[in-house]
Symmetry: C2
Subunit: 552 residues, 2 copies
C-alpha cells in the first residue's frame, strides 16, 4: 500500500523531471504576465527567424521541402523542439519531452536522404507530437495516473511504428486528464494545461496537450484519441482541425487506454492539425503503410482519391446537400455557437450548396445510453488506477464517470449493445428518409461540436454534441469557424431552458469572459467515409475563408 | 408459469402444423427404407422431369434464364417448393413452409417482367431458403425454443428486405438446434434434422436445415449464420459450399439471435450453395443493394471485381502462395480429413502453386478463449429461453454452453476482449513473418474445418477448427474435397492422443460408419478479403475437379 502523502512526492518529482527535460538554452527568463500567450513564441527570442518561419509552415509544405532537400530534418526538428519547449513553459502541455532522441532520429533521416537521394516515406523528417497514450519505446506512459509514473514502454504502439516508418520524428508526449474521461486537461502529476489564446480557458481534453501545442504551433501535426469528443473538443477550443475517424480506420493497437478491452463504444485515434490538407497528409501516410496488416481492428481501406474526387465533382456540378442543426434538443448552445452555425449555413447557401434542416433523432436517448456505457463497470477500472497511488480524483470526473452508478451485469451490457446497434440503424433510416424526401444524397451533417466556445476551467459539463457521434460511430471533422465576440454575441436574456443541464450550461455564458474564444463546428459523414467528410470540410473551410490549400 | 407437460403439447402441435403446411399432392405415400435418400426426390414422382431439371441447375444459370425469360419465376418456385416438400418428409429440415406466399410472390415477379421487360434485380425469381433466424414478415421465428412458438414477425430482417428487393423468392425457413450453439440440428419442436447422404449422419448445425436442404437440392441458395462453424460445418457435412464472411460484410440487423447484443465474437450471416459462383452471386446481389445504408455494422465495401482479378492474375503468372496445416495441435483429424488435406496439397502443387506449412499459432489458447466468450453470461440468456417453456436442454449443448461456468464480470469480459484483440494482432504478425521469410504474399491458409467427415448423431464435440476463425474474424470458405472411404482411410492403430479431447474424437472414428461421408476443407483469407478467398476457393475447386464455372 502507498501512504497518503507519497503520491504527492512522486508526482512532484515527475513534474520537476519534465521541467528539467527542457535544455537550459530554451528556458524562459520570465513568464509573460498576460493571459494571452499565443504570439509569445515569436517574441521570446528562443527561436531564430528561420525557426519561426519553419514552425509557421503547414505540414504539407514541410514534407515537400524536406522531400526535396530544401529543409533538413534536423533543422525542422530543432525548430519544433524549441517552440514546444516554450509552449510547455507557457501552457504546461507535456508529459514527456525528448529533444535529444528526436534530433538523433532527424540526423539519421538526413543521412539517409543524403546517401539514398530519397525519403524514407511520406512524412520524412516531420515532427509529430503524440498524446500520452501512444507508446514510444523508452518513454513513459502515465495516462495522468500518479500510480503509472515510472512505467517505461518496451515497444512502440502500432501507429507509432507506422509513423516512424513513414519518416515522422517524435519529440514530445502531450498531456491528458487523469482517466482521459474529461474534456479538460488536468491531472495530479503536472496540474492543468491551459489555452494559448487565454490561460483562463481550457485547452479542451482529453487530447488537451495536443490541442494546446498545435494551437501555439509547438507542433504542426499531433495525434489524439476520441471516445466522447477528445480529439474534436481540443481542436475546437484551439481553432484547429481534427478528425474523429470511424472505428477501424486507423490503428489503435498497442496504445494505453482507460477501460482497456471495453468495446461497446470504441475510442479512436486521429490527427489534430492546422488545416484539412495536413489532416489528409496524416491519413494518407498512415493508410499507405497498410495498418490492417498490423492491427486486426483496422479495415483494409486504403486512402480513396476517387471518394475525394466524387465530392469535388458534386461541388462542381450542382453543389452538396448538407443537413444542419443548431441544437440537439437537450442543451442549447451559447450565442457564439449559434452564430457560427448561421455563418456556415450562409456560406453554404452562397457557395451554391443546398442546406436542409436536420432533426436530431433521439439524441437524449443516445447521450444517456453512451453515458451508461462509459460507466458500465461501475467505473471500477479508472478508480482502481486512481486509488493505486492514493491520489484524489480530478474535478468534473463524475460527469462521465459516476462511481455511484452500479456495475452492470454482462446481460445488461449486451442489452446496451443491442440498443446501440438498433439506434444506429434507426439513425441510418432517418438519413435515408431525408434522402428519399429530397430525392438526392445527403452528403454530410453540420452541427455544433460543443455548446460553448473554449470554456473556462472546470466548467465543461455537456458532452452530448460530441459523444452522440461516438455512439453512432460516424466520422466527424472539426473546423474552426469564428471567435466569440461580446458585441455580436450578447446573452439571451429571454432564454427558456429545456432542462437542468440546459439551464446550467446557459447560465455559464458570459460575453466578456468568452470574448475571443475559438468557435468551431463539426462536419459528420457516413461511417468510413473519411475521404468524403474531409473533402466536404475542405470546401466549407474555403467558403469560410479559412484556407486555400488544395486537396487530393 | 408453464406446467411441465404443456411444452410438449405446444411443440407437438407446432410439429404437426409444419407437416400440414405441405400440400396433399406433394406428400409421399411412404418413406424410403434406405438410409441414403439423396436421390429420392428424382425417384418419388412428385417432381416432373422439367422440375427436376430446374432444381438441378446452378443459381447462376437460373437467374440467367429467369432474366432472359427462358424460365418463369412461378415454375422455378414451384419446382423448388415441391423438392423442398419432399426434402422435409425425408430429412425434417423445416420450421416454416409457405409455398402459397412464395408462388404469389413469384407470380408478381413474372408479371413485372412481362410488363416492364426487365428484372427487379439480380436474383429475380430465384428461390432462397432462409435459416430460422431470418425474420420474414408474417412467419414465425422460434430459434428452436418451444417458448418462442407463436411469435410471428412484423418486419423482415434487413437481409430479407434486400434479398426481396433483389428479386429473391422466399418459401421456407429451415431448422436450427435449440440455442443455435451446437453443430448438429436437434430441438424439442421438430426433433432432429438428418443428412440426405445417410440419415445416420448429422446434417451439421446450427444452419443444419440449410445444409440438408441444399445438399438434397430442395434449395439452390440458402442463408445461414456462423459464430463457431454454423455455416461451414453444415456446408462441409453436405458436400456443399459456404462462406463465413468477415463480421461487417453482410447485414445481420433485424435477425433473431441467441445472446443478442453479445459483440465480443460476432455471429455472421452468409450463403450456403452448390458452387463458388453461386456464393458469389449472393454476395454481389446483396452488396449491390448497399447494405451499409441499412445496417450500421456493415462496412461500405461493394463487391470488388479488381480483387478477384488480382487473384486471377497471380494464378496466371507464378501461382498462389498457400499455407496449410493438417492439424491444430489439439485434436488430430480423422484419416479421411488428413487425406483431404493431402489431396488439396497435391492439387495445389500440380496446379503450379506454392504450398507452405502453417504452424497453428496458439490455437489452444484461442479455442479456450472463444469458449469462455460463448459462456460469458454464465449461459443465462439461453437457459432462460429454455426454461421459459419447461422443455429440457438438447444433447451436446454443454460443450459450448456449460451452465456450471460462472457469469463473468464486466471487467473480465473487457479482459477477454483485450486478449482477443492481442491474439488477433499476434496472428497477423505470424502471417507477416511467413511473408517476410518467403519474400512474397501469403494468399490464404488451407485447413480442416472439422476433425471429422459428416459425423454420426450426438457425436460432435470439437469446434476448434471452425471457431478459431470466428475468434480471429477471418473470412473462410468451405469447399467439398472428397468422401470418407473405408478402403483408403483405415483407422490409425498407432494413434497417440495429445489429450483427452483428441482421444475422444479419434476413438469415435469407424471406417465403416463413415464410409461415403462428405469431407471438406476451409480456405481462410485476410479480414474483409471475401472476393480473394472466393477466387482462391474457386481455383482450388477447379484443381480438385469439382466444377468449372467462371468467376467474375
Amino acid at each position: 500500500m502507498v501512504d497518503a502523502d507519497s503520491w504527492h512526492k512522486i508526482a512532484t518529482k515527475r513534474r520537476i523531471a519534465i521541467q528539467d527535460s527542457i535544455p537550459e538554452d530554451w528556458r524562459l527568463d520570465s513568464l509573460p504576465s498576460e493571459e494571452i500567450v499565443l504570439n509569445f513564441p515569436g517574441q521570446c527570442g528562443i527561436l531564430s527567424r528561420s525557426e519561426l518561419e519553419i514552425t509557421n509552415l503547414p505540414a504539407t509544405e514541410l514534407v515537400y521541402q524536406l522531400g526535396t532537400g530544401k529543409l533538413k530534418a534536423v533543422d525542422v526538428t530543432l525548430a519544433f523542439c524549441k517552440r514546444a519547449a516554450v509552449a510547455q513553459q507557457l501552457l504546461n502541455c507535456m508529459h514527456e519531452f525528448f529533444p535529444e532522441a528526436a534530433l538523433a532520429q532527424a540526423k539519421q533521416l538526413d543521412e539517409y536522404f543524403l546517401s539514398q537521394k530519397k525519403t524514407v516515406g511520406p512524412l520524412h523528417g516531420l515532427p509529430v507530437s503524440l498524446k500520452d497514450q501512444l507508446r514510444v519505446k523508452g518513454t513513459e506512459t502515465s495516462m495522468g495516473y500518479v500510480a503509472w509514473i515510472g512505467r517505461r514502454d518496451e515497444e512502440d504502439s502500432v501507429l507509432v511504428k507506422l509513423l516512424r516508418k513513414a519518416g515522422a520524428v517524435f519529440y514530445v508526449k502531450t498531456s491528458v486528464p487523469q482517466t482521459l474521461m474529461v474534456c479538460e486537461t488536468v491531472n495530479n502529476i503536472i496540474g492543468r494545461t491551459v489555452n494559448p489564446r487565454n490561460k483562463n480557458w481550457s485547452c479542451g481534453g482529453s487530447s488537451g496537450g495536443e490541442g494546446a501545442i498545435i494551437g501555439i504551433r509547438g507542433s504542426v501535426m499531433g495525434v489524439g484519441t476520441d471516445i466522447g469528443g477528445s480529439i474534436r473538443i481540443p481542436a475546437a477550443f484551439n481553432s484547429a482541425y481534427g478528425i474523429r475517424s470511424s472505428h477501424g480506420r486507423l490503428p489503435y493497437a498497442g496504445m494505453a487506454n482507460s477501460m482497456e478491452g471495453q468495446e461497446t463504444v470504441h475510442s479512436v485515434v486521429g490527427p489534430i492539425a492546422n488545416s484539412i490538407s495536413d489532416l489528409c497528409l496524416f491519413m494518407k501516410a498512415v493508410l499507405s503503410e497498410e495498418p490492417w496488416k498490423f492491427d486486426s481492428k483496422v479495415i483494409p481501406l486504403p486512402w480513396r482519391v476517387s471518394e475525394v474526387e466524387s465530392i469535388q465533382g458534386r461541388i462542381a456540378k450542382g453543389g452538396l446537400n448538407i443537413a444542419i442543426y443548431p441544437q440537439d434538443g437537450i442543451v442549447c448552445p451559447h450565442p457564439p455557437i449559434l452564430r457560427a452555425i448561421q455563418s456556415v449555413q450562409s456560406a453554404l447557401d452562397k457557395g451554391g450548396h443546398h442546406v436542409f434542416p436536420w432533426a436530431p433523432y433521439k439524441h437524449e436517448f443516445g447521450v444517456n445510453l453512451i453515458n451508461k456505457i462509459y460507466a458500465a463497470d461501475g467505473c471500477t477500472d479508472v478508480y482502481q488506477n486512481i486509488k493505486l497511488s492514493g491520489e484524489p480524483a480530478i474535478p468534473n470526473i463524475k460527469d462521465l464517470l459516476n462511481p455511484d452508478l452500479p456495475k452492470a451485469d454482462v446481460n445488461e451490457v449486451w442489452d446496451m449493445q443491442l440498443q446501440k446497434w438498433q439506434y444506429q440503424c434507426e439513425y441510418l433510416e432517418k438519413w435515408r428518409q431525408l434522402e428519399d424526401e429530397i430525392g438526392q444524397e445527403i452528403d454530410a451533417i453540420v452541427a455544433p461540436i460543443s455548446p460553448t466556445a473554449a470554456i473556462r476551467h472546470d466548467q465543461f459539463r455537456y458532452y452530448g454534441y460530441a459523444s452522440i457521434f461516438n455512439l453512432l460511430d460516424l466520422p466527424s471533422v472539426v473546423i474552426p469557424v469564428t471567435f466569440a465576440d461580446k458585441d455580436k454575441d450578447p446573452k439571451n436574456e429571454q432564454f427558456q431552458p429545456m432542462g437542468q443541464m440546459d439551464a446550467d450550461v446557459q447560465s455559464e455564458y458570459d460575453p466578456e469572459a468568452y470574448h475571443g474564444a475559438p468557435v468551431a463546428v463539426q462536419i459528420v459523414g457516413r461511417r468510413l467515409s473519411e475521404e468524403r467528410v474531409l473533402a466536404i470540410a475542405q470546401e466549407v473551410s474555403q467558403l469560410l475563408g479559412n484556407n486555400i490549400d488544395h486537396l487530393s
